[in-house]
Amino acid sequence: MQQLTNAPLYTEYHPRWYRPHVSVYWWLGQWRYLKFILRELSSVFVAAVIVMTLFQLRALRNGPEAYAHFQQRMQSPVIIAFAVISLFFVVFHSITWFNLTPRAMPVRLRGKRIPEWMVAAPNYALWAIVSFIISWLVLGGRG
């Protein structure tokens, strides 16, 4: 009786169980997992855009000459290609995260959970408004 109660119910190590190995490329097989990896990777480009913006602000502070120099450097084909890729990833990053907000924020109204799109929509609206204001400030100033 004593032995029965002391016997382990399970053993952590069992030589006869087949333990599947997870490949390093587990994310390549299915689009859903690849999309997740791309979403994670997009953070690198978001960070890169922030760093570029900081450099731009520094150039702006250092006067018109420094800013002209910065703009000239930005015209190199490598930087333009990088900017296009970054734009794709920043948009991808924003869309995937905005679509995930309803998961993290279950908003209830009169005891009932409101539809998911109603939680995601304000993010898009705010994004559009801020983008409009910034482009108006930047392009409007030139015109």
């Binding site: 119910l9 399970y10 952590e12 069992h14 006869r16 169980w17 087949y18 333990r19 599947p20 997870v22 587990w26 994310w27 097989g29 299915q30 859903r32 997992y33 997740f36 994670e40 995930l100 998961r103 993290a104 924020m105 279950p106 005891g111 009932k112």
Partner: protein
């Protein structure tokens, strides 16, 4: 006679094999047959040694979880006919990331140990005496946790979660969703105890929000949502203890008092 389809089933015998191998079985496709019916057909008519778990055959018991063409599914809730057009082959394997005991049977002791760790039961705070009658809940209070209470422990979410595969210490989606089920219950007061276990890199912070657990869940539990909401609450709880350290001590004291009063 109905049309037929080829079931490619991963077979693994711990006495004979080093790793699973696929064996093909031709099974009839009836309109109302699910994958589990096809497995039962193989076991009854073709090869009695085929081993798999099943019980209720109606999406309640959560024992017939398998990989169907690389997707975690309940065998009893996946119609065979929906695969009839796709190359006429269906690949059936044991749930991903779990050790395989035999054929389609996975080893669950690790999952059960993790489940126990999050204390998925009511830990009442200031429990009223029995003479006060039932603990009533409003429909809104029920609604707060009902979704997370639908979990049937089928472990499909574990098979969908790459973090589970890559980090064996991660508590996993279902266990965290079940912890949230009790945290959100108006009768429960064990949130702090559970958060002590779960606000950890092996708990909620291990989750990278792939979101696949929610997609594959046959009971629409939304474990990914539960984990993200838990993250928000854990941060708020941490911020509260930072701003009001005495608040936490006070609530702990009231609990201890309630505990000694109950013992008396």
């Amino acid at each position: 006679m109905a049309d037929t389809i080829i079931l490619e089933i991963a077979r693994y015998s711990p006495e004979r094999d080093r790793e699973p191998t696929f064996k093909s079985y031709e099974v009839p496709v009836h309109k109302d047959w699910v994958i589990l019916d096809a497995l039962n057909h193989v076991k009854d008519k073709v090869d009695g040694s085929l081993t798999y778990r099943w019980s209720c055959r109606m999406g309640i018991c959560g024992s017939c979880g398998i990989m169907v063409n690389g997707e975690p599914k309940l065998g009893c809730a996946t119609f065979l006919s929906s695969y009839a057009g796709t190359g006429n082959k269906v690949r059936v394997e044991a749930l991903r990331y779990f050790p395989v005991v035999r054929d389609l049977v996975t080893e669950l002791s690790d999952f059960l140990a993790k489940l126990k760790k999050v204390k998925p039961w009511l830990i009442p705070d200031n429990e009223p005496p029995l003479s006060e009658g039932e603990f009533l809940q409003t429909p809104e209070q029920l609604e707060n946790y009902k979704q997370f209470a639908m979990c049937i422990n089928c472990t499909l979410c574990y098979a969908a979660c790459p973090v589970v595969g890559l980090d064996s210490t991660f508590v996993g989606p279902a266990a965290i969703a079940l912890a949230q089920r009790y945290n959100k219950d108006s009768r429960d007061g064990g949130t702090q105890e559970r958060t002590a276990v779960l606000a950890h890199p092996e708990g909620i912070w291990g989750c990278t929000f792939v979101g696949e657990c929610t997609r594959v869940c046959p009971k629409h539990v939304d474990p990914a949502g539960a984990i993200q909401q838990y993250k928000v609450e854990a941060v708020l709880q941490w911020a509260r203890t930072l701003i009001l350290p005495w608040g936490q001590k006070k609530s702990q004291k009231t609990r201890e008092e309630a505990g000694s009063a109950a013992a008396d």
